[in-house]
Symmetry: C2
């Protein structure tokens, strides 16, 4: 039971984004630019950053949603599983390992990011913009995780909810659906 | 020394906001709406929420900036000092005590917010929107604190920097200064 009166058929962040639309507008815009805009990091890589941070913060709704989104881009579900278990042995590039490690450090506290962690990313050819975006995405999901869990929203247990969500995040991005989630009413889980 | 190549004369978040302007646009907009837009919480109360969360996260730049902003609205500097020391004995309303407690819980992890903490806010006549905004502001400053510290930005030590910043935040809000911070070049600290 959410702590505030949001629409019952909208789980996780979706009900919050409808609760206060004047704040969700720029929030969606920021997320769209950062996770879907031009970048030398692929959409899958950016979704993996969102995934490891949400997993560290134990936010079930965000972790499951962004795992599904990363899987949708990658066309498989092993990589997302493995980065959540152990970044060092996961099947990602050395640059991504260094960036995912920075993201995990940010998840704890920005102060945890060490010059050594940054140097490792630079040694593996991470650009300043890639480091910036990694820290910003990690920080943004520290926001989302707290927004979603701090207001007691519920996380569906049916995997179909998340695979549908992943397809929407892949095909339409983070902007508000034109139908304002009416489609979800017909898929009440 | 910041971890990425940002303009040397722009400390804390200001250099980051100039580093990537396409993301800082919606971020500034979100912050402006949430901290300066219409609300039954005063600007000072919202700045106090930002302050206690930044203090919990030990982000010197954000704590000092938003303490100064709260002080500028309140016209004194005792309240901000006391809410950082002990919310229960600070000179704020019972509703604000309950909301600041929720903010501190969010600062740790969204999951830390208990039904009892929410009930206490509701018992003290906090509305759903006030609870929503408290959680959102607290979560947003968990973002800012990590963005600022995760990229190794520097925090000036001269109090004049923060009192100037507070006046700008009070008089002009969170939008990008028209002069793009040129004014700060003349006040290099």
């Amino acid at each position: 039971m959410p702590y505030i009166n949001i629409e019952a058929h909208l789980p996780g962040v979706t009900g919050l984004l409808e609760f206060r639309k004047d704040t969700s507008g720029p929030l969606r815009e920021l997320t769209q630019i950062l996770l879907r805009g031009h970048s030398t990091l692929s959409e899958a890589e950016r979704e993996l950053i969102a995934t490891v941070v949400s997993s560290k913060n134990e936010c079930v709704y965000c972790t499951t949603s962004h795992t599904a989104a990363a899987d949708a881009y990658l066309g498989e579900n092993e990589t997302s599983k493995k980065v959540k278990e152990n970044i060092e042995t996961a099947p990602v590039t050395d640059k991504m390992k260094a960036l995912l490690n920075i993201a995990l450090l940010v998840g704890g506290n920005g102060k945890n990011v060490s010059p050594e962690a940054i140097q490792k990313a630079k040694d593996n050819n991470a650009s300043d913009m890639e480091i910036h975006d990694t820290v910003m995405i990690a920080a943004l999901f520290c926001f989302y995780n707290r927004y979603v869990d701090g207001l007691g929203t519920y996380a569906p247990t049916d995997p179909v909810y998340y695979s549908d969500m992943a397809l929407r995040l892949k095909e339409k991005g983070y902007y508000r659906p034109k139908d304002g989630y009416e489609e979800l009413k017909n898929k009440q889980l």
